[in-house]
């Protein structure tokens, strides 16, 4: 049965950690038995989880020490509350001190948990600072996005702070979810029920094509692990000094002018010169990566 694909999209946070880490190497901090549940959910009479929807701990990946946080998208949409956020922040602070080979953030979150919205918003800001402090201490942080909630809201920002962003096509990355935009701005702005459009605007292939995702893999936890191992040996570094950030600023401005009216990923495929823009959604990640590589080789 080992040859069977393990759908990362469907796997629980714990199953993802198990699939990414070397067998038996994971040690959890603040494990469920400690019952660090959310007092705020309880006060609102909502169900709580023993791990508050995030698993944090240490492990090895291909023998290299890492710290891992994995959000459980099925518990309240992976949303960040006080305890949940504090666990991720604490892990990043541990990283700055212990200097593992990397921190792996398995993001699966719609952003702030509304039941404790203020605590969640602040927690995300604390995660952002702790993440950049870990990077400043020389520890790279890799984000993995391929769950049903994607990486949205503040966790969409956190994801883009990471040195590497590894996504599957099923993964989505953005700030405001399509449902929110549709509710406020109307269905003409964003039809959230047009699922194919949603993925063309936020999905893994678009993010890879725009260079936001550094690696695109198929929806298989074993592929995510392979990407993690590859990133551990050779990874992109997030821009950090003045020169880097000036270059990043120029690149972001260039992107806006390169796609002046674009509102659909299809136009991005066309603008990039992919041979069959309409066929892109059905390409395997390998085939898509190959096409992108060929384009960049031509350019």
């Amino acid at each position: 049965m080992n040859s069977r694909r393990i759908s990362y999209f469907e796997a629980s946070a714990r199953a993802r950690v198990a699939a990414l880490a070397d067998a038996g190497s994971f040690r959890e901090y603040c494990p469920p038995a400690e019952r660090r549940t959310s007092p705020h959910l309880a006060r609102l009479d909502a169900p709580v989880a023993f791990d508050d929807g995030v698993v944090v701990g240490s492990a090895t990946v291909d023998g290299r020490p890492v710290l891992i946080a994995a959000q459980e998208g099925r518990f309240n949409g992976g949303a960040v509350g006080e305890v949940h956020g504090a666990k991720i922040r604490g892990l990043l602070e541990r990283a700055a001190r212990e200097k593992p080979a990397a921190v792996l953030l398995l993001v699966d979150s719609g952003g702030v948990r509304l039941h404790e919205a203020n605590a969640g918003l602040i927690a995300i800001s604390e995660i952002m600072r702790a993440l950049m402090a870990a990077q400043a201490a020389g520890v790279p942080v890799f984000a993995f996005v391929g769950g049903s909630c994607g990486a949205f809201g503040g966790m969409g920002i956190v994801t883009r702070l990471c040195d590497e962003v590894i996504m599957s096509e099923e993964g989505r990355l953005g700030l405001s979810g399509p449902e929110v935009i549709e509710t406020v701005k109307g269905v003409g702005e964003f039809d959230s029920r047009d699922r194919a459009l949603v993925w063309r605007v936020t999905g893994g292939k678009l993010r890879r094509a725009l260079g936001e995702a550094t690696r695109l893999v198929d929806d298989d936890a074993r592929d995510f692990r392979a990407a993690a191992i590859a990133a551990l040996s050779n990874h992109r570094r997030a821009p950090a000094d003045l020169a880097d950030l000036k270059a990043a600023q120029a690149a972001l401005a260039r992107r806006r002018s390169a796609h002046p009216e674009t509102r659909d990923g299809l136009e991005v495929w066309r603008a990039l010169g992919l041979p069959q823009p309409e066929a892109v959604p059905m390409l395997s990640s390998d085939a898509f990566n190959r096409q992108l590589h060929e384009l960049s080789a031509e350019a």
Binding site: F9, E10, E169, D194, R195, A196, W199, G203, P281, M282
Partner: protein, 549 residues
């Protein structure tokens, strides 16, 4: 005496109607903006009218036109159609233009319809099965006017209904040959049709609709939504029923439970060595979840009631499996497929909302008059059947016991979870159908499958071989035995159920060698719609709402 009798009043009525309409059409062709006037010219008070509403294809433009007719002229109608699914079907009743309806299924409009019945604004003749209603088209409910939908017409008025032929042949044949008028809305008028599904001399008028007729993707079940419990019940069904009886000819309902079975054929059933031994011949719409089983070589033939949105190219590319015309596209036919399901299949398996202690099942609940469509024909022993098959004979031996005249029996199974959402028990002492019949003044409680026809119940607790029960008491305990923690289940006589287990009448998963913990979604041959597309070699083109990539 006979000389004074008029034998052609229907024809004369038809001629009068056509004369009134002549100025509004150019030959058979009617422009969209004149359709309301045409309907007013043709329809007479008291007419039986069919506004073609199928499971999928809808004569939606003509339905909208009906709602714009003058209620003083178009009134006292008797609607005779299988499905009331568009809001306009009920709007026209609310406008007071309809006095009576005979139908089979009302799906999304069932709540509104129930309110109209309760307030006495409409009389329901009966809620039929499909075959029953089609039968009555040819006996006492022949439409005076049929408003149908086709994909294309040519200039002579021949129609191409394409993959979604569904009810059209039955409606048009009854109407055209009994002095009625047939009006067809079409998506386009072309010079040459791919094939002729309805000949022009059965059609009086064609009208190009401003927008293509609506088709609902009713049979698409996203594998991503199949639960572990449904995988478990599917394993029980395959091992405890399909393999046990060697079922090759069958029909499936449209629920997730049966979609799970379809998706376990290439995996679990193959591992059990069942390829070629079960599930080879189907009366079934082209379910996308059947693609992996077809690709795995499980399936030899599928005849369809209708089609399914997005399956056109796939179906056309598998002519050995589906019924494909000389033009290369599928032809469906609800009447024939229903007859096939009733007479030529050994098993019907579907789902229900409620089952009582006798095994009567119903999807009717308070405040909704939905009807059952085809399930009662599929889910009934065909008394007229005269050909044998091993599955049919085995069920007959078990069900009829030691009677001198050998006869088979159809296998009819219901697969349910003991609790539905919101912890509503699927097993009840008394069906809601009784209350519904009372409040709606119906002669019969709306039962989908009667106790005497039901041979098996499958739940996550196991399978109850009702066909093997020797007394009503045994039957009741067998039902309680798979009813889990519902009040009905908790009320079981434990010893009696254990006795039934010993006799193989109730089988738990472990009795079948199934470990519930092995029932994971990993067993599904496709876990999402994208997997289905890949399995089809890119031929399946799913509707937008089912995409997540």
């Amino acid at each position: 005496m006979s000389a004074s009798h008029q034998w052609n009043t229907l024809q004369q009525s038809r001629m009068r109607r056509l004369e009134r309409a002549a100025a509004l059409a150019q030959g058979k062709r009617v422009e969209a903006e004149r359709i309301v006037a045409l309907l007013e010219a043709i329809i007479e008070p008291g007419d039986r009218v069919c506004i073609e509403g199928n499971n999928q294809k809808q004569a939606d433009f003509l339905a909208r036109a009906m709602v714009q007719t003058d209620p003083a002229r178009v009134r006292e109608l008797h609607l005779v159609q299988s499905v009331l699914s568009l809001p306009e079907h009920v709007d026209i009743i609310e406008r007071g233009q309809v006095s009576r309806i005979d139908f089979s299924f009302s799906g999304p409009q069932s709540g509104r319809l129930a309110r109209l019945v309760e307030s006495g604004r409409i009389t329901i003749g009966a809620i039929h099965t499909y075959l029953e209603l089609f039968g009555r088209y040819f006996v006492d409910l022949t439409p005076h006017v049929a408003l149908v939908a086709a994909q294309k017409a040519d200039r002579q008025g021949n129609l191409y209904t394409g993959p979604n032929t569904e009810d059209t042949p039955a409606i048009v044949e009854a109407t055209a040959f009994k002095g009625g008028i047939v009006i067809a809305q079409v998506n386009e008028i072309v010079d040459t049709l791919p094939r002729v599904d309805i000949p022009a001399d059965w059609v009086d008028f064609t009208v190009p609709a401003p927008t293509p007729h609506y088709v609902e993707p009713l049979f698409t079940r996203d594998p991503a939504l199949i639960t572990e419990t449904q995988v478990l019940t599917a394993m029980i069904a395959i091992k405890g029923l399909y393999a046990e009886y060697g079922i090759t000819r069958l029909n499936h309902g449209i629920g997730f439970d049966t979609a799970a079975i379809e998706l376990l054929l290439p995996t679990y059933a193959t591992e059990l060595g069942l390829r070629g031994k079960i599930c080879t011949h189907w009366a079934l719409n082209p379910h996308p979840t059947l693609i992996p089983a077809i690709e795995a070589g499980f399936v030899q033939s599928v005849h369809s009631f209708g089609s399914e949105v997005g399956m056109e190219k796939y179906v056309a590319a598998r002519p050995d499996i589906f019924f494909i015309g000389a033009d290369g596209s599928m032809r469906s036919n609800r009447a024939f497929s229903q007859a096939a399901g009733h007479y030529a299949c050994d098993l019907f398996i579907g789902s229900t909302l409620q089952i009582d202690l006798h095994g009567n099942s119903s999807t009717a609940t308070r405040g909704r008059i939905a009807g059952f469509g085809g399930a009662p024909n599929m889910g009934a022993d065909a008394r007229g059947r005269r050909h044998a098959s091993p599955a049919w004979l085995k069920a007959g031996r078990e069900g009829r016991g030691d009677i001198p005249m050998p006869r088979g029996q159809k296998l009819v199974a219901q697969v349910v979870e003991t609790f539905r959402e919101h912890m509503e028990p699927a097993f009840v002492e008394r069906l809601d159908a009784w209350d519904l019949a009372e409040s709606a003044g119906m002669d019969l409680p709306p039962v989908m499958i009667y106790s005497e026809d039901l041979t098996h119940i499958i739940t996550e607790e196991g399978i109850a071989h009702l066909v093997r029960c020797r007394s009503p008491e045994e039957r009741e305990q067998a039902i309680r035995g798979v009813a889990g923690y519902t009040p009905v289940g908790m009320g079981r006589d434990k010893r009696a159920v254990e006795n039934l287990r010993d006799r193989g009448i109730v089988q738990r998963p472990e009795d079948l060698g199934i470990d519930p913990r092995q029932a994971t979604r990993d067993l599904l041959a496709a876990r999402n719609v994208k997997d289905l597309v890949h399995a089809s070699g890119g031929l399946y083109d799913p509707p937008k709402k089912f995409r997540n990539w």
